[in-house]
């Protein structure tokens, strides 16, 4: 990682101009091949998949993790900001859950250290699933199908919220998207990318995008200011990292989003204000790099970005164990 960051820095400083045209080994590129998950507890992940799809973790019985991080749609809801309990409007764009295990931290402001810490947030957020951890556990504990499966995975009769969030996180770790055309190219398949896509990648490096969007996830590994050269006029009141650190210097610092599967994760930015990749590339160029891309340059970068779409998670829709007479009923209205 250190070597990679230095490489990225060198490119951001303009040294990247030396790179295009030369034949590089994949290991020399500032973007690295995304790896399929390496160490998964399958029983725990299967349990987590059920929980991920279970709207009974919400007060209404209507909203599950998958409602806003929809695995049919790039792990997002494709809305500028999400819909919460009683149709409340969320303050920020729902980031993709795909490849989120590679993030330096979770949420746009990084307030959760890892996926487990993140998973508990929306359940208890009054604007999202609007439940409490205690009530969610009470529901699960009343369902024999869950009690048995938790016992198999964790060896205990009593379910607790740590087990719930651990299982959801384990499932989320499986949501990696390998085999993008860009990865095929990194792995040596020269014709996996067109000339236009390669030109887009060269420009992505030369112009400095790569300084923040690098590594396995093409982002997700640092916090950066939104609006470096020009301030960004956000539609969201969120101020980013400063909400976590309390430091004024961190205002409008947000986690750099992954660009993996970016073709599927529209609309863009923490406020979801950019509808298209063309718009997003244009705004990023001007506000972050002080550079106005020509229409052709923009199109080339967009063509490159679309090569980052990997194999989407393929799994059987989980069937949820039914509630019993003892299960507390949801309160939708």
């Amino acid at each position: 990682m250190k070597a990679l960051r230095l490489n990225a820095l060198a490119i951001a400083l303009g040294l990247g101009a030396l790179l295009p045209g030369t034949t590089m080994a994949a290991s020399d590129e500032p973007i690295s091949v995304i790896q399929p998950p390496q160490s998964i507890n399958i029983g725990m992940a299967e349990l987590g998949k059920k929980l991920y799809f279970d709207p009974r973790l919400s007060k209404s019985g209507f909203i599950s993790c998958n409602s806003c991080h929809n695995l049919s749609m790039g792990g997002t809801d494709n809305l500028p900001t999400s819909i919460g309990d009683k149709w409340q409007q969320g303050p920020i764009n729902a980031p993709t859950v795909l490849n989120s295990s590679l993030n330096v931290a979770q949420f746009w402001d990084g307030r959760a250290a890892d996926l487990k810490a993140q998973a508990g947030g929306p359940i208890a957020n009054p604007g999202e699933m609007a439940f409490t951890h205690t009530l969610a556990v009470d529901v699960l504990q009343s369902i024999p199908g869950y009690v048995r499966e938790f016992k198999m995975v964790f060896g205990k009769d009593k379910i607790d919220i740590d087990e719930v969030t651990l299982a959801i996180a384990e499932f989320e770790k499986t949501l990696v998207t390998p085999n993008a055309r860009f990865d095929q190219w990194l792995l040596g398949k020269q014709d996996a990318l067109s000339a236009k896509e390669k030109a887009g990648y060269a420009l992505f490096k030369d112009s400095g995008c790569i300084a923040c969007h690098n590594g396995e996830a093409v982002g997700g590994n640092s916090f950066q200011k939104m609006g470096v050269v020009e301030p960004y006029q956000a539609k969201s009141p969120a101020e980013g990292r400063s909400a976590v650190t309390g430091k004024d210097a961190d205002r409008f610092n947000f986690k750099v989003p992954t660009l993996r599967n970016v073709e599927m994760t529209y609309p863009y930015f923490h406020d979801g204000a950019a509808n298209t990749l063309t718009e997003a590339v244009d705004i990023m160029g001007r506000l972050q790099l002080g550079r106005t891309f020509s229409a052709e340059e923009n199109a080339n970068i967009v063509a490159f970005l679309k090569t980052l779409t990997g194999d989407q998670p393929a799994f059987t829709l989980p069937i949820l164990p039914p509630s019993t007479d003892a299960t507390p009923r949801p309160k939708p209205f």
Copy 2:
């Protein structure tokens, strides 16, 4: 079917008392083995599966067919009445989509003749998906992944709403749930049911439940008055079949719901007012048959009903083709 109806009638008239204890061939039973789907256009069903899971068929971009007919939860939302666009409260309980191809007609009042006619309803209902057929087709037509798939299936470049609803219906025809323990018993596996479950089935026939809940779907094949012996105090304003026929005699006539997978399709009745099977069996006994089941009788019937849970649909979660720059964006707020 005629033989079956006569048989059911005989049982309703009390002749069923002769049956229990005798060893019957499955073909003599008033409930028949549910058949896996017989004739499916796989390409059309695969397209329909995507559409079924696609929230872009709603105005908000948030509600899909699967939101209220959730295939992880018995093809229902497990809520008394459903949540529609902007969190509107629906007027009636969402019936299960499982085995709905066996219904005599669709919706509680039978206002749609078949699944295709049904599928168009919620898309354009202002209280449900709140879209229009034209706008839904415009969205699909802007997505090359869909245009190609519609062309493959229907042979035309231009998508229309008939193709959309036909494809959804074809997918729904696959949602049959064979292999319930009860079917295994019908097919000759004597120990597939416990003594208690067999006693419950005998009582279900003897007491007259079978008069309406019979056939492959254990219901779904007739309209009957809710509240025969005593009137039903509904929490829903719906008056049932009379809304379709205009006949006063049809007031409070509703389609008899299927009892297949009834353990998963709580809460019960057209107003979703019965939370548990115990409650539902008790109310049905008193209001429809003038009979108060003892606690043991009730428990036996409930035990029988739980043997009607079949194999749930098992399929890979569909990945939806992404929107393009030209795709009209949803209006969630």
